[in-house]
Amino acid sequence: MKVEGLVKRYGSLAAVDGITFEARKGEIFALLGPNGAGKTTTVEILECVRPQTGGRVLVLGCDISDRRALRDLKSRIGVLPQDFNTLQRLTVRENMQFFAGMYGVHADIDGLLDLLGVKDKARERFGNLSGGLKQRVGIAAALVNDPELVFLDEPTTGLDPEARRATWKVIEDLKAKGKTIILTTHYMEEAERLADRIGMIVKGKIAALDSPTNLVNAYGGGKVAIFRGGGDAAFGTLRRFFGNVSMEGTDVLLPIESMKDIQVALTALLERGVQADIALKTGTIEDVFLRLSGFHITEGGDVR
């Protein structure tokens, strides 16, 4: 998939403001950003359910501005929308048959429900399921046509931690089956754990795009040694050797560039008999996001 200078404008407001990225076959590509950043608008354009204002998009090699090609393209992609919902009074199995009918395929519905861990719910009405189960049925429905490319729009939003981890496992299994997955999320941990590459979206633009490791290395602020409870004694000692020591409460923080720095710091502290617990902190995607955008994302996906 190739996205070049994608723009979506509503009047004077640009919801998507010149996004460019590529997703490679077989990878999990995450669009990470807060609510309102343009993630869903972007994937809905890629899913061919919302027309773009400008830019060029190739999905599975098809230019999506070519309306005639869309029907064929749609039969090759799978979509889990935000807050997936379907016919409430049909059972899970009947809904799966309904979606299979939309693609004109005979799907292995039991196999899919089994894969998603909802086989025992096959005879339950969809409307009676919990939010987590509904999302899983949604993922099963997104796979009913055995798509090459799967869009998962906020697949774990609103789920409890256990359901979230179960869903992550499913997504990892999908990747193992060779599917290409486009994932949107506002959960840092989710993007970091699942994605091969992350595009950080801020205000309709891609702020950074790389693998989680590279992003952290480039923007995560490197490694920091923390001397817990070191207090003024540790701070004073380390200040003699390092210029960028800082304090948070009684903790002393020392950014380190090599193992040598740790050795120097430890030796100095031991010589002066300063006691402290040592922890090593690596930068996270959250640090990257904070550095790039200047704000945090709350659990609910809003900016702070």
């Binding site: 809905e44 899913e47 749609k74 979509v79 997936f84 409430q88 009074r89 299979a100 009918g101 004109g104």
Partner: protein
């Protein structure tokens, strides 16, 4: 294939809805039972045409003129006259086929005055439509006027008799009068209120958006829904007719005109439902609008009472309501055996259906903005 999948899924989803079943089946059936049990005759002035063939020297005879005056002064009837040159049955056919037509014609035979004076038996002929809820009541009024003439002029001898002839050979049951109107009214509410609610709900839960990401086309989706509505309309009609026949010995006719009219009507009201759901994005507003349109239409279209008891300006309104033609067409085929009129009403209903399906298809948004 996709169309069939849509049809099956939405029909099944609907049949499992308790509130849907209540409003679409139990509610209409309750109405049918109520209407069949309550006999009510309208008290307002009822139109009656009189053809006076008893003329001498170009003017009505004195006695025939007095009879017309007497009929008029009952205040129950609103009497108009038609020329004696007019062919009575042609007049009735023409009036019956026209809009909201429930013609009633009283024919005064030539020699009426002479016969009465000579105390010879003479027949007034009263013709009315079997679909006419007021027809029997008017016959009663004419009889009582004729009786008073017998008393005053003929000295109590029953010289004037009234032969009432309804122009259908088939004797009708009371339930027959209401059956077409009830079926028409509730098919209308199922489309205008029921489908509007269903369609806005599908959009509210974003099912439409999800489906637009599949190869399903808007056309298949709409046709699947219309077919589902048509099946429901057929089921409703069948249940109503079975109850009518089973409990009240209804004699309504189900012929090709009836079935065609029902199908076209189901398509028409689906079109209105799709139009409302497409044009009004807020589900509650769409539902409110559906009710606001359905209920006045139900009462203004002559489904529950004949149009000519309504004031003239409301009759004009009725002329623009699709339900008027649909209900009239059903009456024509189910109880009047008037195929020409049924076909004419079917044509108007079909024209409305085409217009609303087109607007509905246009208004249904398949792609996001």
């Amino acid at each position: 294939m996709r169309l069939v999948a849509v049809f099956k899924a939405v029909t099944r989803n609907w049949l499992r809805s308790r509130s849907g079943l209540f409003f679409s089946f139990l509610f209409p059936i309750t109405f049918l039972l109520l209407f069949a049990s309550i006999f009510s005759v309208s008290n307002s002035s009822i139109p009656l045409a009189v053809q006076n063939n008893d003329v001498s020297g170009g003017a009505p005879t004195a006695l025939s003129a007095r009879l017309i005056l007497a009929l008029n002064s009952t205040q129950v009837l609103f009497v108009s006259t038609i020329p004696s040159s007019e062919n009575a049955s042609a007049y009735l056919q023409q009036q019956a086929g026209s809009f909201g037509g429930n013609p009633r014609l009283l024919v005064i035979p030539s020699g009426f005055q002479n016969n009465v004076m000579m105390k010879r038996p003479t027949d007034l002929t009263y013709l009315y439509s079997p679909a006419d809820q007021s027809g029997a009541a008017v016959a009663g009024v004419i009889s009582s006027v004729a009786d008073s003439f017998n008393l005053q002029v003929a000295g109590g001898n029953r010289t004037i008799t009234v032969a009432d002839v309804s122009f259908s050979a088939r004797p009708l049951k009371f339930v027959d009068y209401y059956m077409p109107g009830l079926i028409a009214a509730f098919m209308m509410t199922n489309g205008v209120i029921g489908l509007t609610n269903v369609a806005t709900e599908f959009r509210r839960i974003k099912l439409i958006k999800r489906l637009s990401a599949t190869p399903l086309t808007k056309f298949d989706w709409l046709v699947g829904n219309v077919l589902s509505q048509t099946l429901l309309a057929m089921l409703l009609s069948a249940v109503m007719i079975l109850i009518g026949v089973g409990l009240y010995h209804s004699t309504v006719v189900i012929d090709v005109y009836t079935v065609l009219t029902l199908v076209v009507g189901a398509v028409l009201f689906s079109g209105i439902g799709m139009t409302l759901a497409g044009l009004v994005s807020d589900p509650e507003a769409a539902s409110g609008l559906g009710n606001a349109i359905a209920f006045p239409m139900m009462f203004l279209s002559g489904t529950f009472w004949s149009l000519d008891v309504m004031p003239a300006y409301l009759q004009v309104v009725a002329r623009f309501l699709p339900l008027t033609y649909f209900a009239d067409g059903l009456r024509d085929s189910m109880i009047l055996d008037n195929h020409a009129a049924a076909l004419a009403n079917l044509g108007v209903t079909a024209a409305f259906a085409v217009v609303f399906i087109a607007i509905g298809a246009w208004a249904t948004r398949w792609e996001e903005k």
